[in-house]
C-alpha cells in the first residue's frame, strides 16, 4: 500500500523511481488485506446479461449459479435436487410436474417467494425464447399457495432439468440491471468490463456461503492471468492453461478436472467427401488422440469416441475408444477405396475459432497427423461471432474443431442435435438408424430401456464416425492457497458458496 502512495506523487524521473521501488518493495510485497471473508475471482469475459432468462454464455451461467436458483438445481454429482421447491412429483405419463414450494425461501430484496413468482418466472423464461426447450411448457398452474404445477404439451421424462430456470420476483421492474434471485449470493454492483460484486445473502434458505464478499474481476487479457494471480489482484481463476499452470508458484493450488465437453473435429456431413463414411473412418484412424493431448495440454485430457463425455457416467462407454486405433495403413486403404490417393489427395479446411487456443492447437496437430495419410488440411482461423454465424448457424464450412457442452446431465442435451431434422444439427448428420434409436429413447418411460436406447445412439455416432472425436479437455483451476474448498461439478457450474479460508493450523 505504501508503495502505491509513493507512486501517487509520480512524475519523478525513472532512475529515482526504480530506487524508490527497491526501497519500498518490502512493505508492498507483504500480504496486507484480510482474506478471511473476501475473494477476488477472475473470469475470462464479462457477463453477457444479468437477466437470468436472457443469459446465454456458459461463462455467465456458471458464476450466476450462485445468485439464481430454480425449482430444482444440480448438486455436485449433477443430480437435480429441490431448491425453491421442497419436493417434486412427476405424473405417471411424465406430462405434469408438480412441486411443493419450500417454506421460508426469500428473495434477495427480503420478500418471500410466492407461487405467483414461480409461475411468472417460468412463463417469462419461455417468452424470452433463449432456451427453446421451454417451448414444451403448456401451462403453469397454482393449485394453492404452496403448490405449483407445470404441464407439458407432450410427455417428457427428461424435462425436470429445464426447471433449473431461475425464479425471480414479479415485482422487480428491471431484472436486467437489478438482478434479484434466491441464491446464496446476492448481486451488489457491476462495472462493465471491470467487475461484478456479490455479497453473501444472509437469509439464504440453505447452507450459507463461507466467504462474505466476492469480486468477479474480468480478465480480458489471457496473457496477464499469471501475473495477476502472482501479484495478488486475483485469488482464483477457473480456466488456466497447462502452460500457465507450470508458471504458477507454490502459493497456488491447482485443481485438475475436466471441462465437461466433447471436443471433436466436427465434420460437415453434407460436404461431399465427408458424406462418405469411409472418409470419415479414415480420418478417425489417422487421429492420434494421445498425440493431440500431449501437444495441447501436456498429456492431460480424456479420450472420447462419441458425443458423450465421462461425467455422464450412466451412458459413457469407454470401450468405444478401441473402435478406431491409430492405423495409417488402413486409413490409406479406405481413402483409396473412396477415390483419394497421392494423385488426387483429400483436401479440406478446418475452420476454428481463434479465441480458443486449445482448439487452434488441436487443429494444427490434426493437420500434421493427417498429412501422414496424404490428406491435405488447411486451417482457417475465424473470430468467434463469425464462427457462430457462418459455421454453427449457416453450416457453411467443411470441418471445424470445437467443444460441445451440455446444459444439463440428460443425454438428450448432447445427443438430440444429431437427429437429421434437429435445428441445431450443425454437422448435417443424417442417419435413419440414429433417428430411430433416438426416437426410441425419447418414447421410453422405463429408465433401463431409455438408457439402453441412448447408449445405442452413442454407439451409432461412434461406429459411423459421424465426427472425429478427440477428448474431454482438461480444466485447471488455480486457487490461492489461502483458500480451499473448490469443488468440480459435472456441468458448467462454479459453486462459490463452498469456497473457504484455508485452515493454517
Amino acid at each position: 500500500m505504501r508503495g502505491r502512495r509513493a507512486l501517487g506523487r509520480a512524475l519523478l524521473p525513472m532512475i529515482v523511481m526504480s530506487y524508490l521501488a527497491a526501497a519500498l518493495g518490502g512493505c508492498a510485497g507483504g500480504k496486507t488485506a484480510d482474506t478471511s471473508s473476501r475473494i477476488t475471482i477472475g473470469i475470462p469475459q464479462d457477463l453477457d446479461s444479468l437477466d437470468p432468462h436472457y443469459m446465454t454464455a456458459a461463462g455467465t451461467k456458471e458464476v450466476l449459479f450462485n445468485v439464481f436458483e430454480g425449482l430444482v438445481k444440480p448438486d455436485q454429482s449433477g443430480d437435480l435436487v429441490p431448491a425453491v421447491a421442497e419436493s417434486i412429483d412427476v405424473s405417471e405419463d411424465a406430462a405434469l410436474y408438480s412441486f411443493t414450494l419450500r417454506d421460508g425461501v426469500k428473495f434477495h430484496d427480503g420478500t418471500n417467494v410466492t407461487a405467483q413468482d414461480v409461475r411468472y418466472s417460468i412463463l417469462r423464461a419461455k417468452e424470452a425464447g433463449v432456451n427453446s426447450a421451454l417451448e414444451a411448457v403448456a401451462d403453469v398452474t397454482i393449485p394453492d399457495e404452496k403448490h405449483i404445477g407445470v404441464a407439458l404439451s407432450a410427455p417428457d421424462s427428461d424435462f425436470l432439468c429445464n426447471l433449473t430456470c431461475a425464479v425471480i420476483p414479479e415485482h422487480n421492474a428491471d431484472p436486467a440491471t437489478n438482478p434479484v434471485g434466491t441464491g446464496p449470493y446476492k448481486y451488489v454492483s457491476r462495472s462493465p468490463q471491470e467487475n461484478v460484486v456479490l455479497t453473501r445473502f444472509d437469509d439464504y434458505w440453505g447452507t450459507p456461503a463461507n466467504i462474505r464478499d466476492i469480486t468477479l474481476k474480468i480478465e480480458a487479457n489471457a496473457d496477464a492471468i499469471v501475473m495477476d494471480l502472482e501479484g495478488g489482484s486475483v485469488d482464483m481463476f477457473a480456466r488456466v492453461t497447462s502452460a500457465q499452470k507450470k508458471q504458477l508458484s507454490d502459493r497456488f493450488r491447482v485443481y485438475d478436472g475436466t471441462m465437461n465437453l466433447v471436443q471433436a473435429l466436427y465434420l460437415n456431413n453434407a460436404y461431399e467427401p465427408f458424406s462418405d463414411v469411409r472418409v470419415r473412418r479414415a480420418l478417425s484412424l489417422l487421429t492420434d488422440k494421445q498425440g493431440v493431448m500431449d501437444f495441447v495440454s501436456d498429456g492431460a485430457g480424456t479420450p472420447l469416441a462419441s458425443s458423450i463425455y465421462p461425467a455422464f457416467t450412466k451412458y459413457f462407454t469407454e470401450e468405444l475408444n478401441d473402435l478406431y486405433p491409430l492405423d495409417v495403413g488402413q486409413a490409406k486403404a479406405l481413402l483409396k477405396e473412396a477415390g483419394y490417393d497421392e494423385a488426387h489427395p483429400l483436401t479440406f479446411s478446418i475452420a476454428v475459432a481463434s479465441n480458443y487456443q486449445q482448439h487452434v492447437d488441436t487443429a494444427q496437430v490434426l493437420a500434421e497427423q493427417y498429412a501422414k495419410g496424404g490428406v491435405q488440411v488447411t486451417i482457417e482461423p475465424v473470430e468467434w461471432n463469425t464462427w457462430l454465424s457462418e459455421v454453427y448457424t449457416n453450416r457453411n464450412y467443411q470441418a471445424t474443431v470445437v467443444g460441445v457442452d451440455a446444459s444439463t446431465l440428460s443425454a438428450s442435451a448432447l445427443l438430440s442435435r444429431f437427429r437429421s431434422d434437429a435445428g441445431n444439427n450443425f454437422i448435417n448428420y443424417s442417419n435413419p438408424a440414429y433417428d430411430e434409436a433416438y426416437a426410441a429413447a425419447e418414447a421410453a418411460v422405463d429408465d433401463a430401456e431409455k438408457t439402453a436406447a441412448y447408449k445405442q445412439c452413442e454407439r451409432i455416432l461412434a461406429e459411423d464416425a459421424a465426427n472425429v472425436y478427440i477428448q474431454d479437455l482438461p480444466c485447471f483451476v488455480a486457487l490461492n492457497s489461502d483458500y480451499d474448498g473448490y469443488v468440480f461439478y459435472p456441468l458448467y457450474v462454479q459453486d462459490f458458496a463452498l469456497l473457504k479460508k484455508a485452515d493454517r493450523n
Binding site: 507512486l7 519500498l24 508492498a28 464479462d46 462493465p192 480478465e219 496473457d223 501475473m227
Partner: protein
C-alpha cells in the same frame, strides 16, 4: 478556418459511413450473439426486428445518423445500457491515461532533449542515444509486459491487474495508471528527445544564439529562453501527432494492464458486434483526432504569429 471545419465534418461523415459499411460486410449476427445457440427462431426474429436489423442498410444508417446528431448514440446491444452512460463512465479512464502519458512525455523529454544537445558527443549524450534507440525499438505492449514483470512481480511496487476505479479511489487510480502511462510514453520520449536534440543543435549555430550569449546569458538560459522557442515548432507538430497516436496506443496498453477504458470497450464491442458502441467510439476517436489537428494549427499561430492569416 471555415474551410477547415467543413472538411472536418466531411471526414466525420466518411468515417461513420465506413464503419457502418464495415459492419454490414463482416459476418456475425448481433441477435444470435445476444440470444445464443439455444434460442428459438421466433425469438431471434423478434430480436432482429427490435434491433432494427431487418431494415435496408441506408435506412438503418439514416436512422442511426439522425439519432446520433441529436446526441443519442443508442443503447448497447450487450449491456442494455445507453451508450452515453456506458462510455461516459469509461471515458475519464482513457482520458486520464492519455493525458498522464502526455504529461510524462513532455516532462521527461524536454529537459532530456536539451541536456542532450548541451552535452553533444559526450558520454551522457552517447549513452542515452543508445538507450533511446533501444526503447524506441520496443513496442509499447511489450514494454508494458516488461514493466509489469519488473515493477509488479519482482519489485512489487504495484499490483498487476490491481486497477481501482477512479470513483472508488482517485489517488489509487492515478497511481495504477503510472506504469501504463509510462509504457505509452517511453518510446515516444526517445523519439521526441532525438528530434529536439537535432532541432536545438540546428538552431544553436544561428546568429541570434551568438548574440544571446554575447549579452551575458548562461548556456541554460540561452537554450531554454531562446533556442527552445524556435526549436519547438517542429517538435510541437510531432507531439500533436503523438497525442493522437497515444490514444491509439492506449487501446493496446489497456489490454496489457487490464484497464477497463475506451480501448478495451472498442475491442470487446467489435468482437461482440455491439454496433452502437463501436460507432460511438470510432466517431469519438475521429472527432478527437480532427480536433487535435485543428488545435495544433491554432498553437502554431500562437507560437509564430507569421503563420496563419490565409485560410
Amino acid at each position: 478556418m471555415l474551410r477547415k471545419l467543413i472538411s472536418a465534418a466531411a471526414t466525420l461523415f466518411a468515417v461513420s459511413v465506413l464503419v457502418f459499411g464495415a459492419f454490414a460486410l463482416i459476418p456475425g449476427d448481433p441477435a444470435l450473439k445476444k440470444l445464443g445457440t439455444q434460442a428459438t427462431q421466433e425469438s431471434l426474429a423478434r430480436m432482429r426486428e427490435q434491433m432494427g436489423l431487418n431494415a435496408p442498410l441506408p435506412v438503418r444508417y439514416a436512422r442511426w445518423a439522425v439519432h446520433f446528431i441529436n446526441g443519442d448514440p443508442g443503447t448497447s446491444y450487450s449491456y442494455d445500457i445507453p451508450v452515453r452512460t456506458l462510455l461516459g463512465d469509461k471515458l475519464p479512464v482513457t482520458l486520464a491515461l492519455v493525458l498522464f502519458s502526455f504529461v510524462l512525455l513532455i516532462v521527461i523529454s524536454i529537459p532530456l532533449g536539451i541536456r542532450h544537445a548541451k552535452y553533444e558527443g559526450r558520454l551522457f549524450d552517447r549513452v542515452f542515444l543508445v538507450l533511446g534507440q533501444i526503447v524506441m525499438a520496443i513496442p509499447p505492449f511489450f514494454l508494458g509486459i516488461l514493466l509489469t514483470w519488473f515493477f509488479g512481480i519482482v519489485l512489487r511496487v504495484f499490483t498487476p491487474g490491481g486497477y481501482v476505479s477512479y470513483r472508488q479511489d482517485p489517488a489509487g487510480f492515478l497511481a495504477y495508471l503510472f506504469f501504463p502511462a509510462l509504457a505509452i510514453a517511453l518510446p515516444r520520449v526517445a523519439m521526441t528527445v532525438k528530434l529536439l536534440r537535432a532541432e536545438v543543435l540546428k538552431e544553436a549555430t544561428k546568429d541570434y544564439v551568438r548574440t544571446a550569449y554575447s549579452r551575458g546569458n548562461s548556456t541554460m538560459s540561452v537554450l531554454y529562453r531562446h533556442v527552445l522557442k524556435n526549436a519547438f515548432l517542429p517538435v510541437l507538430t510531432f507531439l500533436a501527432m503523438n497525442l493522437t497516436d497515444m490514444v491509439a496506443g492506449s487501446v493496446v496498453i489497456e489490454q496489457v494492464f487490464g484497464i477497463p477504458g475506451i480501448g478495451r470497450f472498442l475491442l470487446v464491442s467489435i468482437l461482440g458486434r455491439d454496433h452502437p458502441v463501436v460507432e460511438a467510439i470510432i466517431m469519438g476517436l475521429a472527432a478527437f483526432i480532427i480536433g487535435v489537428n485543428l488545435l495544433t494549427d491554432l498553437c502554431y499561430r500562437l507560437i509564430d504569429p507569421r503563420i496563419g492569416g490565409e485560410s
